[in-house]
């Protein structure tokens, strides 16, 4: 086992230090390397291990050819000029090239400038691929580790000395990092997207439209849209639907809301017999007007409208965080009158498209006149198709998207389920529409706190049955979908404890993510606002920073303290420091014995000095390292320091 004592004897060469650094920075990147490149990396590693002398040019050329071949195989299919515009692919290519070049240079055994800076380049590249909590911990470890390796090289010392020096330096920089992190202005794109402008990547999230095409890859985003604090516990998962917008018009490749000239009447209160819950929402900038309210909202939020579709909007786009309190009844339906125009819009479908679905719909329509039974028949039809929920979809026939999804592709995500369900509901004669918003996952909550993320964006269907708009969860008809019901009753105590622990860990993770990974200018403004409103917070903040500085200095002092190689020397160190402090310096070439004797002659009142000298001789030269002798030496040293000279 690698012990501290063994580290004291290790003095790695510059090449060894570089090798260790490369292994550390390459570890996370191994997760993104394709198999051919991984094989190449291991071959290169084996060659580096084998070659104790600089490799011959032919070997280096062989590594180059092998690397290019591995690169070609790794990027085969994904590689195109169009693909290169995708940042992720481009970065992956950079990583591959860097791995090849570094392997070639390493085989020459010549430490050049590029070999020295490449670990930092690889670290920077890995930051493009990972930004979770694990990576946060790993990045801090990587920074410390690279610092350790740099200092080991610079100091030419053993690993313990360089570790101590790097710890000191790391601690010096820590308060600066904290202060910079909190106050450094976050000037960035308002909507950070993964990749460069023009890239055909689309995030999850609600934006008021619903595309069915597969032109872009849907990237689940963990960005928090809003934080919801319930007065009581977080409601069950099947009820956590936050309404965003209603889509009425099927445009084949996407769904649209009603034209802007059609005004829906506003109302401020909606009566419902279901129990009501209150909650507070912090909504982060969306650059849209929607407020997300839990199904079904009971009141209009202050300074916002609530229309007949229970859609809440503010007048201006939301470009700064807003806070609102809302009340909703946890119901899956609400009663309302259906006017003629809405009836017309919500029953409209293209008779020339989706012929197969239409044929099935006619069968259902003819089997019963009851709308509820027709809806159930549609659910049954969906269930029979063995549909799969997936964010990665194949190419749909957009002219017959329902047919294509239900009977051909058979996999898609919420928008495909909702769109097909609404289309079929209309075909069987039920007024229906698509509702988009967020459906949250209770497993992400702790206590009464529920964060809603962009990846929670959802679409579901609403069918007008028996005088009420009723929610139908079309996605639940998928054959492969994660169960979301809690099974508390069947859990053992250990499982419950694990879940509890998990929840707390998630809560910590959530706090870390909120305050570190997703810390933004909004949070900065929040902090400033809070500081303005609570002057004692400023004092608390300054005190916290001072405590941090103090803690780092304690750690620095610990790692800066000189290491004593011998127990006798260690024991009398306080006395030597004391003598130095009072101005009694040890002369050049003076032995410790002579020094103590001189002091004893000059200060005959301090009777302990000669005793110390005797004990020191006994322990150091007599090799009597017994506990009693050391304790006795400690005692006389203490008394000598306390004695008046």
């Amino acid at each position: 086992m690698l012990s501290l004592a063994s580290l004291q004897n290790i003095r790695p060469t510059p090449l060894q230090l570089l090798d260790i650094s490369y292994i550390i920075v390459l570890l996370p990147l191994l997760l993104i390397l394709k198999v051919p490149m991984l094989i190449f990396a291991f071959i290169a590693l084996a060659l580096i291990k084998i070659h104790k002398n600089p490799a011959k040019p032919i070997v280096i050329m062989g590594v180059f050819i092998l690397g290019v071949f591995a690169l070609f195989l790794s990027q085969y299919g994904a590689f195109s000029f169009q693909g290169l515009s995708r940042l992720k692919l481009f970065l992956e290519l950079l990583v591959y090239i860097l791995v090849i070049v570094v392997s070639m240079q390493r085989l020459t055994r010549v430490v050049n400038f590029y070999l020295l800076i490449s670990p930092i380049l690889l670290l920077a590249l890995s930051l493009f691929f990972f930004h979770g909590m694990m990576m946060l911990i790993y990045v801090i470890f990587e920074i410390f580790f690279l610092l350790w390796m740099i200092l080991s090289h610079r100091m030419g010392s053993n690993l313990v000395d360089s570790f101590r020096a790097s710890m000191v330096m790391f601690m010096y920089s820590l308060p600066w990092v904290v202060v910079l992190f909190i106050f450094f202005p976050r000037i960035s794109f308002e909507h950070p997207n993964y990749g460069f402008r023009g890239e055909v990547v689309r995030h999850t999230g609600h934006d008021g439209t619903m595309f069915l095409d597969n032109k872009s890859l849907l990237v689940p985003s963990n960005r928090i849209v809003m934080e919801v604090g319930f007065e009581d516990a977080v409601p069950p998962i099947g009820t956590l639907y936050f309404r965003g917008s209603i889509l009425y018009i099927d445009k084949k490749d996407h769904w649209e809301p009603l034209p802007s000239y059609i005004k829906r009447d506003n109302q401020y209160y909606y009566s419902n017999q279901e129990p009501k819950i209150s909650y507070k929402v912090t909504l982060y900038p969306t650059n849209k007007k929607w407020l997300y309210l839990l199904d079904m909202p009971s009141f209009a939020v202050k300074k916002a409208s609530l229309d007949k579709d229970l859609i809440s909007q503010v007048k201006k786009n939301i470009d700064e965080p807003i806070y609102y309190q809302a009340t909703s009844s946890l119901s899956d339906h609400y009663t309302t009158q259906l006017d003629r125009y809405i009836y017309k819009v919500t029953t409209q479908f293209d008779t020339n498209s989706n012929r197969k679905a239409y044929k099935e719909a006619i069968k259902i329509k003819n089997s019963t006149n009851d709308s509820e039974k027709r809806a159930k028949a549609i659910i049954k039809l969906f269930q029979e198709q063995n549909l799969t929920y997936s964010l990665k979809i194949g190419s749909l026939d957009l002219n017959n998207s329902t047919d294509s999804f239900l009977f051909k592709q058979k996999y898609g995500y919420c928008v495909h389920f909702a769109s097909s369900f609404v289309t079929m509901a209309r075909m069987v004669g039920i007024p229906s529409r698509v509702v988009t918003g967020y459906k949250s996952d209770r497993s992400n909550s702790i206590n009464n706190y529920l964060p809603v993320r962009e990846k929670d964006a959802h679409a579901w269907a609403e069918l007008y049955i028996k005088g009420a708009w009723r929610r139908y969860e079309a996605t639940s008809t998928a054959s492969i979908i994660e169960a979301d019901e809690n099974t508390d009753t069947n859990q053992t105590q250990t499982a419950k404890n694990q879940e509890k622990l998990n929840l707390y860990l998630m809560y910590i993770k959530y706090k870390v993510e909120t305050w570190i990974l997703y810390y933004s200018n909004i949070r900065q403004l929040q902090l400033l606002k809070y500081a303005k409103e609570n002057p004692q917070f400023v004092l608390f903040f300054i005190l916290s920073i001072l405590v941090l500085v103090l803690a780092t200095f304690v750690i620095i002092s610990y790692f800066r303290r000189p290491i004593c190689g011998d127990v006798a020397l260690c024991t009398i160190q306080p006395l030597l420091k004391h003598l130095k402090k009072i101005g009694y310096k040890r002369e050049r070439d003076e032995t410790l014995h002579q020094y103590l004797q001189r002091y004893a002659e000059d200060n005959p009142n301090n009777k302990y000095i000669l005793e110390i000298d005797r004990y020191y001789e006994k322990i150091y030269y007599g090799e009597d390292k017994s506990k009693e002798s050391v304790q006795a030496l400690k005692r006389v040293v203490r008394e000598a320091i306390n004695a008046k000279d």
Binding site: I120, V177, S188
Partner: protein
């Protein structure tokens, strides 16, 4: 507090020069900022802040690595013109913490010390080749350190100088060659042992005349009796020009010292005699001629 005071007092004496790695840090900071700006990844911001803070904290660490070092020249030994010797400088670390990666520089010569432990000193031997004989002043030494991150090269002058004498370059004919070209150069070296009766075989010069006066004929015996050269070096005969003469004389002086042979040098206005005069005094006089 004392260290802080020393730091403030000495800080201005330290000269800082940027290295290529400081350019790397600047490029890294800019690159990380762009990456953070474009993608708003706090991980990148954290890395950026760490790089900045580490580079920032490297400043005081590198300064305190140097300012507690106190240097002084120690006895050099003999130094000859145009011959490589070494200048010994003792570097004392007055701090309780070690100093790392220190280089002692003088012109193009340097000595590296990877560690100078706290409250201790090391002696660095700096290569030194005086170009001419005579008094020289060794100054302009400075300590350099790139510790900890190599982003800056810090130098601090050691602030002391050394005045010494470079003896003439010892070269020319060997002492053996000088002796072989001389006539009657041998004297005698004897150590009296006692008296024995004269039997006719002994040298007449060994007869003890005091015993003859008493009626006995005794001869002196010696425990050691050998011929030794009488070494008299003449300045003007030692070489063609002054420099050649001084070099030749220096060589002979050193050889005589090695053989423990007494010698005499006839200088233009002075006669130098060994062992009456110390070898170093004689060499100094030759150096200053």
């Amino acid at each position: 507090m004392k260290s802080l005071l020393k730091f403030v007092q000495t800080y201005r004496k330290v000269y800082q020069h940027a290295t290529i790695f400081s350019a790397v840090v600047v490029v890294l900071l800019f690159g990380f900022f762009l990456q953070a700006y474009m993608h708003d990844f706090n991980l990148v911001y954290i890395t950026l802040f760490f790089v900045f803070s580490l580079a920032f904290s490297a400043g005081p660490i590198s300064v305190s690595n140097l300012i507690f070092l106190k240097s002084r020249y120690v006895h050099l030994g003999r130094v000859f013109a145009n011959e490589q010797s070494s200048i010994s400088i003792e570097i004392e670390n007055q701090s309780s913490t070690p100093s790392w990666a220190i280089k002692l520089y003088h012109d193009d010569e340097s000595v590296e010390m990877m560690q100078i432990k706290g409250d201790s000193s090391v002696i660095a031997k700096l290569p030194f080749t005086p170009t001419k004989r005579g008094v020289f002043v060794h100054e302009g030494c400075y300590l350099e350190s790139k510790y900890p991150l190599s982003t800056a090269r810090l130098t601090i002058p050691i602030g002391v100088s050394y005045e010494g004498i470079a003896y003439p370059t010892p070269k020319g004919k060997s002492l053996r060659s000088f002796i072989s070209n001389q006539e009657d150069i041998y004297g005698e070296e004897r150590e009296f042992d006692g008296l024995i009766e004269y039997d006719g075989s002994q040298k007449l010069s060994h007869i003890h005349w005091a015993s003859v006066a008493k009626g006995d004929i005794s001869v002196k015996t010696f425990s050691k009796e050998q011929e030794v050269p009488k070494l008299v070096f003449d300045f003007y005969k030692a070489g063609k020009d002054d420099e050649a003469r001084l070099s030749q004389l220096t060589l002979w002086v050193l050889e005589c010292e090695r053989l423990n042979a007494p010698f005499t040098i006839k200088m233009p206005h002075k006669v130098l005699k060994s062992p009456q005069e110390d070898i170093d005094v004689i060499l100094s006089l030759l150096a200053k001629y």
